[in-house]
C-alpha cells in the first residue's frame, strides 16, 4: 500500500481524524441540485439573440447530393438562414482522423456538412437556423434536396472483397487499419495441444443512449473575436483546440464551458460534424446557435460501437494449462474514422486485451478495421474490453468444458499469479500490479457457489434451466501520452489542479478533469479537504471551463480520480505547507510542529487549537501589514500530474452472473450478479460501488437488449427507444460489489480507474451463464445480443 493514510507520509492528519476523507463514503455535494431539478444542462442555457439549428439528415446510406433548394424553407416563419456544406467550408476546414502510431491507418477528410455525397443514413446534410427549434424543423421539412442513391457497402464481411463499393475512392479500398500481434509459436503450440477449441463471437453494434442528448451552444462574438461554446462534453480543452483549429482561430480565442452533463460514457468525447457545423454557423452569423440532438438524431448520429465479428481459438494441455490464443477480429466502423481519437482504437484494444488475465506463452491476434455505410463507431464505455473479455472468457469456458474441468478451477490454474508483477502480457501490455487470485478468492467468498450448484440441479429436475457464469478481466485506465498524444492528437494526458484558500478559510479547487455524474467533483472535494485539513463542506469545486481551470484532458478512460485526483492532492498538500509556514510565523512556532484539522491550525503533538484558517485568511488578506515583509503568502498552489512509469494503470476484477433461461420463450432473466474489482485506492466506496453497478447494467444491456439493427440497404431500423431496448429497473438484478485494493505506486493517491470495469466484464459473465444453463440441452450462444430468438435458435426450437 502507498503510505498516504499514515501521519508521517505527507505530514497529513492522523487517519482517524475527522477530516480524513479519502476512503470514506461521503455523499456527493452536487446531488441535491440534481434531485431538486436545479441542475444546469446545456439545453437549460438561454442566451440573448440565440437561434436554433435543425438538420436535414440523409435518408440514404450512400447517395450523391444532386441539388439543394432552400427557397421554400426560407419562407417559413422564423427561419433565419440555410447552410450547405459549401457554405460552411468557407469558414471551416475538414479533418482526417488518423493517429501516426497506428501504422498504415487511413481515413478520408470529413466536413461538418458533406460537399457532394452522403455516406450514412442520418448524416447531417443541410442545416436550417431559425428563432426556435420548431421553426427550424419546419424549415427542414420545407427543404427540397435531391439525392442520387449509390450502392451502399453495408456488410463488413464483404467490405474488402472484390466488387465491394469503395466508399472513398481516393483511399483505394475500404481498409482503415490492420494490426497483428504475435508472441511465441502459435502454430506449433496449437499443433501440439491436448485440446483446441474454437468459436466465432459477435458483439452487437450498440450505442450509448445518454439520457441527455448531445447539446451545444456556440456563441461567436464579432466584437472581441471570441467563440464561447457551451457544450455537453467530457473534454473541454480538447474541444477548444478542435474548434480553434477547424475554424482557423487561435486557441486563446475559444472558450468551452461545460456545466452539468447528462451522461457521457465516451459518447461525448468525440467530434461530431453537426456540432462543428453549429460552431461554424455561429462564426458566420455572429450570434449564439443552439443545437440539441433529438432521440432519432442520437441513434442516427451519436457514435455506435462494438460492431465486431471475432473468430477465436484456444489451445490447452491435459492439465488445463492455456497454451495459446489465436484471434481474428473484424470490425466495421462506418464511413469515417471519428476525430480525433480515431475508430481504430477499439479493434486495437481487442488485440491488446485478449487473454489479458492469463499467463500463457503463445498469442496471435489480428484486427481488421473496415469502412461501411453505417453510423461511424468510436470509443464507448470500456472500449474493446467487453469484446476481449467475452471472447477470452468464452473460449476459456469452452476449453474447460472440453477437458471436463470446473471453470473456476480452470481460472485458478491460469490467472497470472498475484506475486508475478511487474508482468508483461503476450500482447505486450505492462502490468504494474494486479490481484486476479485475491479477486477470485474474494468473489468466491461472496458467491455461494455450492448453494447455487445445488439450486441449479434441483431446478433442472423441474425443467427450469439456470446457469452460473464467470468472467475475469483487466481494464486499462489512467492513460499516458502513449494512448493518443504519441499519435499526434492534441489530447492531454496531463491534468492540473489549482487549490486556493479564500479569506474566510474556505478552499476552492479548479481542475482540468470534468464531472459527468461519476462524482469527480465529490472526490476532488474529499481529496482537497483531506490534503489541506478542512471540512469537506468548506471545499468548492470548479470544473468544465477552459478559461477557469488548469489545462487538462478531461474525464475519459477512467482518468478523473487517478490523474485529476493526484493533481488535486499534490496541490492541496502544497497549499497546506504554505498555510503552515504562515501560521508558524504568526504563532512563532516551527511549522513542522503544527497540523491543520477541520479548518483549525493545531499543535501536532497535543491537538490543541492555535488559530483558525479564517483568522489566518483575515490577517493575510486584510492586515498583511502586520506580517514580516519577506513572508511568502501565496494561498494558491497549482500542481500537475501525468503517469510516467507505465503507459496505463491496469486494473483487474472478476464477475459472476446467475441467470435463468426460459427455454420455451428464450427469455433470459438475470437473477443475481457479483463483481470484485481492484481500482487501487478507493476514494469513496459509495460512489465506486454504484458506478460499478451502472457499468454492469450497461454491459448487460448491450449483451441482452441493445442493438442498432440495419436492413441490407443500410437503413437503421432502431431509431426510437421503443425499438432500441435499454435495461430498466425491473429487468436488472441485485448486484453485489466487492473490492481488492492494489494502489498504483505511480502516485501518492494510488487511485486507478473504476468506471469501466462493470461494462468490461458483464457481457462475458452473462454469456457464460447462459451457456451454463443451456449446456445440458446442447445449445450455445456466442452472438450478442442474446435475444429470445437467438436462444431459441441455439436450442433448435426455431
Amino acid at each position: 500500500m502507498n503510505d498516504i493514510p499514515t501521519p508521517d507520509s505527507i505530514g497529513l492528519s492522523r487517519e482517524d481524524l475527522p477530516n480524513s476523507y479519502i476512503g470514506r463514503s461521503v455523499p456527493r455535494p452536487n446531488v441535491p441540485k440534481l434531485v431538486q431539478g436545479r441542475a444546469t444542462y446545456t439545453d437549460d442555457v438561454v442566451l440573448p439573440r440565440m437561434v436554433h439549428a435543425a438538420f436535414l439528415r440523409s435518408p440514404h446510406a450512400h447517395a450523391r447530393i444532386v441539388s439543394v433548394d432552400a427557397t421554400a424553407a426560407m419562407q417559413v416563419p422564423g427561419v433565419v438562414r440555410v447552410f450547405t456544406g459549401q457554405d460552411l467550408a468557407k469558414v471551416c476546414d475538414p479533418w482526417v482522423a488518423v493517429l501516426a502510431h497506428l501504422k498504415g491507418m487511413k481515413s478520408a477528410p470529413q466536413h461538418p456538412l458533406p460537399l457532394d455525397r452522403a455516406t450514412w443514413q442520418g448524416e447531417p446534410i443541410v442545416a436550417v437556423v431559425a428563432d426556435s427549434r420548431a421553426a427550424a424543423e419546419d424549415g427542414v421539412a420545407a427543404l427540397r434536396v435531391e439525392f442520387d442513391p449509390l450502392p451502399a457497402q453495408v456488410d463488413m464481411e464483404t467490405a474488402l472483397a472484390p466488387g465491394a463499393t469503395v466508399i472513398h475512392t481516393e483511399l483505394g479500398d475500404n481498409l482503415v487499419f490492420q494490426r497483428t500481434a504475435v508472441q511465441g509459436d502459435v502454430d506449433a503450440a496449437f499443433a501440439a495441444a491436448h485440446k483446441v477449441v474454437e468459436a466465432t463471437f459477435v458483439t452487437g453494434r450498440h450505442t450509448g443512449v445518454t439520457l441527455e442528448p448531445r447539446s451545444i451552444i456556440a456563441d461567436y462574438n464579432r466584437a472581441d473575436g471570441t467563440l464561447t461554446v457551451h457544450q455537453s462534453t467530457q473534454a473541454p480543452h480538447m474541444m477548444q483546440n478542435v474548434f480553434a483549429k477547424q475554424l482557423r482561430m487561435e486557441e486563446s480565442q475559444v472558450r468551452v464551458i461545460c456545466k452539468d452533463v447528462g451522461g457521457s460514457f465516451g459518447i461525448k468525447v468525440h467530434v461530431y460534424p453537426d456540432e462543428v457545423a453549429v460552431a461554424a454557423m455561429s462564426r458566420i452569423l455572429g450570434r449564439p446557435v443552439k443545437f440539441v440532438a433529438d432521440r432519432f438524431e442520437a441513434f442516427a448520429s451519436d457514435i455506435h460501437a462494438r460492431d465486431h465479428r471475432i473468430k477465436g481459438r484456444i489451445a490447452v494441455d491435459a492439465d488445463g494449462k492455456i497454451l495459446g490464443f489465436d484471434i481474428d477480429d473484424l470490425t466495421g466502423i462506418g464511413p469515417y474514422s471519428v476525430y480525433p481519437r480515431t475508430s481504430a482504437i477499439e479493434g486495437n484494444q481487442v488485440v491488446n486485451l485478449c487473454g489479458g488475465p492469463y499467463d500463457f506463452a503463445n498469442y496471435r491476434c489480428t484486427t481488421t478495421v473496415v469502412l461501411q455505410n453505417k453510423v461511424p463507431t468510436c470509443q464507448y464505455r470500456a472500449v474493446g474490453h467487453p469484446i476481449a473479455t467475452a471472447v477470452t472468457e468464452g473460449l476459456v469456458d469452452l476449453a474447460a468444458q472440453a477437458i471436463g474441468m470446473d471453470p473456476i478451477e480452470m481460472r485458478r490454474r491460469n490467472l497470472v499469479r498475484d506475486d508475478a508483477y511487474p508482468f508483461t502480457s503476450p500482447a505486450g501490455m505492462k502490468f504494474e500490479g494486479l490481484s486476479h487470485h485475491a479477486s477470485l478468492k474474494k468473489l468466491l467468498e461472496m458467491v455461494p457457489v455450492e448453494r447455487i450448484r445445488a439450486d441449479q440441479a434441483e431446478a433442472r429436475a423441474r425443467g427450469v434451466h439456470r446457469g452460473l457464469g464467470i468472467a475475469a478481466f483487466i481494464e486499462l485506465t489512467n492513460p499516458s501520452p502513449f494512448m493518443y498524444g504519441i499519435g499526434g492528437a492534441r489530447i492531454s494526458a496531463q491534468d492540473g489542479a489549482t487549490v486556493r484558500m479564500d479569506p474566510d478559510g474556505s478552499v476552492v479547487v479548479a481542475s482540468g478533469v470534468t464531472e459527468q455524474g461519476q462524482g469527480t467533483e465529490a472526490i476532488l472535494a474529499q481529496i482537497v479537504a483531506h490534503g489541506v485539513g478542512v471540512p469537506v463542506g468548506k471545499v468548492r469545486v470548479i470544473t468544465g471551463d477552459t478559461q477557469a481551470t488548469p489545462y487538462g484532458g478531461g474525464t475519459w478512460a477512467c482518468r478523473g480520480a487517478g490523474i485529476g485526483g493526484e493533481a488535486a492532492l499534490q496541490s492541496a498538500i502544497a497549499l497546506k505547507e504554505q498555510l503552515l509556514t504562515v501560521a508558524g510565523t504568526m504563532l512563532q512556532a516551527n511549522p513542522a510542529s503544527l497540523d491543520i484539522v477541520l479548518g483549525e491550525v493545531v499543535d501536532k503533538a497535543t491537538g490543541a487549537q492555535r488559530i483558525s484558517l479564517s483568522e489566518i485568511g483575515r490577517i493575510v488578506y486584510f492586515r498583511g501589514d502586520t506580517l514580516p515583509k519577506d513572508l511568502p503568502r501565496e494561498f494558491v498552489q497549482t500542481r500537475h500530474f501525468i503517469t510516467k512509469e507505465y503507459p496505463f494503470a491496469f486494473t483487474n476484477g472478476i464477475q459472476a452472473c446467475w441467470v435463468e433461461v426460459d427455454v420455451a420463450t428464450g427469455m433470459v432473466k438475470v437473477l443475481e450478479h457479483w463483481c470484485v474489482e481492484d481500482c487501487g485506492r478507493v476514494i469513496n466506496p459509495l460512489l465506486v460501488d454504484e458506478q460499478v453497478r451502472g457499468g454492469i447494467v450497461q454491459g448487460l444491456g448491450g449483451a441482452l437488449y441493445e442493438h442498432c439493427v440495419y436492413d441490407d440497404q443500410g437503413n437503421l431500423l432502431t431509431t426510437t427507444m421503443a425499438d432500441y431496448l435499454v435495461p430498466m429497473a425491473a429487468e436488472m438484478p441485485e448486484i453485489h460489489v466487492g473490492h481488492v485494493e492494489t494502489p498504483t505506486r505511480e502516485s501518492l493517491l494510488g487511485a486507478k480507474g473504476a468506471g469501466e470495469a462493470g461494462t468490461a466484464g458483464a457481457p462475458g459473465a452473462l454469456m457464460n451463464a447462459i451457456n451454463d444453463a443451456l449446456r445440458p440441452l446442447g445449445g450455445i450462444v456466442t452472438a450478442q445480443p442474446f435475444t429470445p430468438a437467438s436462444i431459441l435458435r441455439a436450442l433448435g426450437t426455431i
Partner: protein, 161 residues
C-alpha cells in the same frame, strides 16, 4: 406552424395564462414558456420518463401531453414538488444513497417515486422496481434508487406507527 390555443392552468400552485401553439407538448411548454427546466426531454416517445410530471394528481409523460389540452389543469413539476417539501425525505435519501449520477433522469425518477410514496406505501423491492421501470437511468445500476425509495417507505412506515 399551427393554430394557437389560449389556456389558463395552475402550475406549481401559480395561475398561468398563455397562448400556445396547438402542437406544443407539455414538456416544451414547461421548459420553454415557463422556464421550468427541471423536467427534461429525453426520448419524446414516452419511454424514458425524464419528462415525468404530475397532472391533476397523476404522473404523466410531459412529451405525450399537449399543453393545449390542459386548460384548467393542475400541474406539478419537480420544482413545485420540491418547494412543498412533500418528498424532502425521499430527496435526502437519494443524496445519502448516491441514487443520482448525471442527474438527468433524477427529476422524473423522483416524480415517479413520489407516486409510489402516495399510492403504494407498502411496496416491496420488486414492486418498486416495477413501478420505476418506465424511468430510464443510464448511470446507476438502479439499485441505489431502489434502496433510496425503499428506505423512505420504511422510514415513513416507522414514523406512522
Amino acid at each position: 406552424m399551427s393554430a394557437r390555443v389560449d389556456i389558463t392552468l395552475t402550475v406549481n400552485g401559480e395561475r398561468v395564462t398563455r397562448s400556445v401553439e396547438a402542437r406544443r407538448h407539455l414538456i416544451d411548454f414547461l421548459r420553454l414558456d415557463l422556464g421550468l427546466t427541471g423536467s427534461h426531454a429525453g426520448c419524446e416517445h414516452g419511454v424514458c420518463g425524464a419528462c415525468t410530471v404530475r397532472v391533476d394528481g397523476e404522473i404523466v409523460r410531459g412529451c405525450l401531453v399537449l399543453a393545449a389540452s390542459l386548460d384548467g389543469a393542475e400541474v406539478t413539476t419537480i420544482e413545485g414538488l420540491t418547494d412543498t417539501g412533500e418528498v424532502a425525505d425521499l430527496q435526502d435519501a437519494f443524496v445519502a444513497r448516491n441514487a443520482a449520477q448525471c442527474g438527468f433522469c433524477s427529476p422524473g425518477m423522483v416524480m415517479a417515486a413520489a407516486d409510489i410514496l402516495r399510492h403504494h406505501p407498502g411496496a416491496s423491492r420488486e414492486e418498486i422496481r416495477e413501478h420505476l421501470s418506465g424511468n430510464y437511468c443510464r448511470c446507476t445500476g438502479y439499485q441505489a434508487i431502489v434502496d433510496a425509495v425503499e428506505q423512505t417507505l420504511k422510514s415513513r412506515q416507522e414514523a406512522a406507527r
